[in-house]
């Protein structure tokens, strides 16, 4: 591996220079902004805000698409920058795109539970969007944990949703490779709830601990030798900002989510009840597109692909994309494939 004749210490000196140079460039990229498409706030409920994006193309004539993101992360990752924006690709296809931002819950919100989120917040957003389009069913796009909420909502309110798309959405929480599920299975959720809202940093720490060297060290070291150009460095910094920008979680809703889904796996066991009503995946009969990442370390592909076995839809399409969890939203490959599949799937059913 050694170069014959290399001066002792010369390689270390070169490494030192590269470390310094990359550090200087990272500092110069620190001011990057996130989010790129024009949007308008159109409705709100508590900390939840519904946005509508400005059109970028003539209308395709499809029902509006409502994006329901996870509670545990910020939704701007779907519109991070022009060349890495699922939202933008949908807009360019002439779709009318709405996005839910759950905001930052405060301690006074800690009793908000999943029923509140489903019925008042998500339900309120759906009601507003449908009111704008004459009451016709909308297309719901649920992402990660937001996909779980979307499945529940669709099962409870089938008349409101025309077509359903799920992205990196866990359904069977007890598949063998699900490390996150193994770790939280023994958590005392009643105790967790008593401790109040959970800071975003804590959940982020959980996600990073799944593969600590890769997720907190290796990616930085790779910057040293890959020598990315300034634009690539700015992309990197945007992602870093998003990864470490996690909102706090309402105590009640998080405790319910952990207990009902991660611990008791109620969705696939068909034992979920929300607000006194049974939530049955078999009641979802809408056309359903389920996209998941084959290398997902947070939501294993097996956790997502299980959806096809449980829904009542006769028009179910499951598709694995060769990338990781976050790559589904922002990688260049997925940036073309994911929106492309969504757009063509919708067009085929118009």
């Amino acid at each position: 591996m050694n170069d014959a004749g290399a001066a002792p210490g010369a390689a270390l000196a070169e490494l030192t220079l590269q470390i310094s140079a990359t550090l200087a460039r990272l500092r110069s990229a620190a001011g990057v902004t996130v989010g790129c498409s024009l949007k308008e706030r159109v409705w709100s409920c508590g900390k939840t805000t519904l946005y509508r994006y400005a059109p970028l193309a003539p209308p395709a004539g499809s029902p509006p698409v409502l994006i329901c993101f996870a509670l545990v992360n910020r939704p701007y990752v779907l519109d991070l920058q022009p060349d890495r924006s699922l939202v933008r690709r949908l807009l360019e296809a002439g779709l009318d795109v709405y996005l839910i931002d759950w905001g930052d819950p405060e301690e006074s919100d800690r009793h908000l539970d999943l029923e509140d989120y489903l019925e008042r917040h998500l339900g309120g957003c759906v009601g507003h969007v449908r009111a704008q389009c004459g009451g016709t069913p909308l297309d719901l796009l649920g992402v990660c944990q937001g996909g779980v909420l979307s499945l529940c909502y669709t099962a409870l309110h089938p008349q409101a949703v025309g077509r359903l798309i799920t992205l990196t959405t866990p359904v069977d929480f007890h598949t063998s490779g699900n490390l996150l599920s193994k770790w939280v299975r023994g958590i005392d959720t009643a105790l967790l709830e008593r401790c109040g809202n959970v800071p975003g940093e804590l959940l982020n720490g959980l996600f990073l601990a799944l593969m600590p060297l890769r997720l907190t060290q290796q990616k930085y070291v790779r910057l040293l030798t890959s020598q990315p150009d300034q634009r690539a460095l700015e992309d990197f910094v945007r992602m870093e900002k998003w990864i470490f920008d996690s909102p706090p979680q309402n105590a009640a809703a998080l405790a319910q989510f952990v207990r009902w889904f991660y611990q008791e796996n109620r969705l696939v066991r068909d034992t979920l009840t929300i607000g006194g009503r049974r939530v049955r995946l078999a009641d979802i009969r809408q056309p359903l597109l389920n996209l998941y990442a084959s290398e997902d370390h947070i939501v294993p592909a097996s956790a997502s692909s299980a959806l096809g076995e449980h829904v009542g839809s006769r028009d179910y399409t499951g598709c694995a994309i060769a990338t990781g969890h976050i790559g589904m939203y922002v990688s260049r490959a997925a940036g073309g494939e994911v929106p492309g599949r969504i757009i063509s799937w919708l067009a085929e059913r118009s």
Binding site: A7, L50, R120, T225
Partner: protein, 270 residues
């Protein structure tokens, strides 16, 4: 390892500088400075370095919190430090209380920390052995940054494999859950003491505020369910937004009203 921050305060350049510094030190260990490398002799120092990193990155929030370094409980130190190490706990959480229950929990926590340290040690030793075995005795020290990275990638693969082999195990998962539950119990103790203190000053306690909040929420639900009654203030069109059509409002009101009879009244949660 301490994460440089999180959320809006997170500074990628600081995280990079810390990671690059560790990489640099590792390359020195690997003989990049020109010294001849006896790879087999590196297993012990490599394992030691990794074990220290695991202890700091995955467990340091326990010790930090125990030392009172996480004001208000959850601190940024937890950002890359593992979920289970991030809960507020420790002497700072029960300062001045000297309650037997809190001391009992602290003792239990120390025991669990010891068990966790045993796992880190095992992971680090396995990772180092795996790395040396895969490297082979013929490997030369890295002469360029690119070669250094190749070596580093091999190390990361070995380390992550060793880590995964342990953390997927049931005993490890149980231990992590118990660490989290014990720290949460400590926080609950802390809150209980704070409640007593607040009550002694004649101030409203969190439980009392919770009870009022629950009553308010219930009243809002009941009012929304009455239909003609004043609307609950929560769902409002944003300023400047187009108001929803009447049909949409009726639907929304119907949805809000529906859970009123089903949802149980919430008392204070302790």
């Amino acid at each position: 390892m301490q994460n440089p921050g999180s959320g809006s305060t997170f500074k990628p350049e600081e995280a990079y500088a810390a990671a690059a510094g560790r990489f640099f030190e590792m390359m020195k260990t690997f003989g990049m400075s020109g010294a001849t490398t006896d790879w087999k002799s590196l297993a012990a120092p490599l394992a030691s370095q990794f074990e220290r990193w695991l202890q700091m990155s995955q467990a340091s929030p326990w010790f930090k919190a125990a030392a009172g370094d996480t004001p208000g409980g959850f601190g940024p130190a937890s950002a890359a430090g593992g979920f289970f190490g991030a809960l507020p706990l420790g002497p700072a959480a029960v300062q001045g209380a000297q309650m037997p229950r809190a001391l009992e929990l602290l003792g239990r926590l120390a025991q669990l920390q010891g068990q966790l340290a045993g796992h880190w040690s095992q992971i680090a030793a396995t990772a180092a052995q795996r790395f040396i075995a895969r490297l082979g005795s013929a490997a030369a020290p890295p002469a360029t940054p690119q070669q250094a990275l190749q070596l580093y990638e091999l190390w990361v693969n070995c380390a992550e494999e060793a880590y995964a082999a342990t953390v997927h195990r049931e005993d490890f998962s149980r231990l992590q859950a118990e660490l989290a539950n014990t720290s949460a119990a400590l926080l609950a103790e802390q809150r209980q003491q704070a409640e007593a203190l607040v009550r002694s000053f004649g101030l409203p306690t969190r439980n009392e505020v919770d009870a009022l909040h629950a009553q308010l929420q219930e009243l809002r639900r009941v009012l929304a369910g009455l239909g003609t009654a004043p609307r609950a203030p929560a769902p409002q069109p944003a300023p400047g937004a187009t108001p929803p059509a009447k049909r949409g409002r009726k639907r929304a009101a119907g949805r809000r009203g529906a859970p009123a009879g089903r949802k149980r009244a919430r008392g204070p949660r302790r």
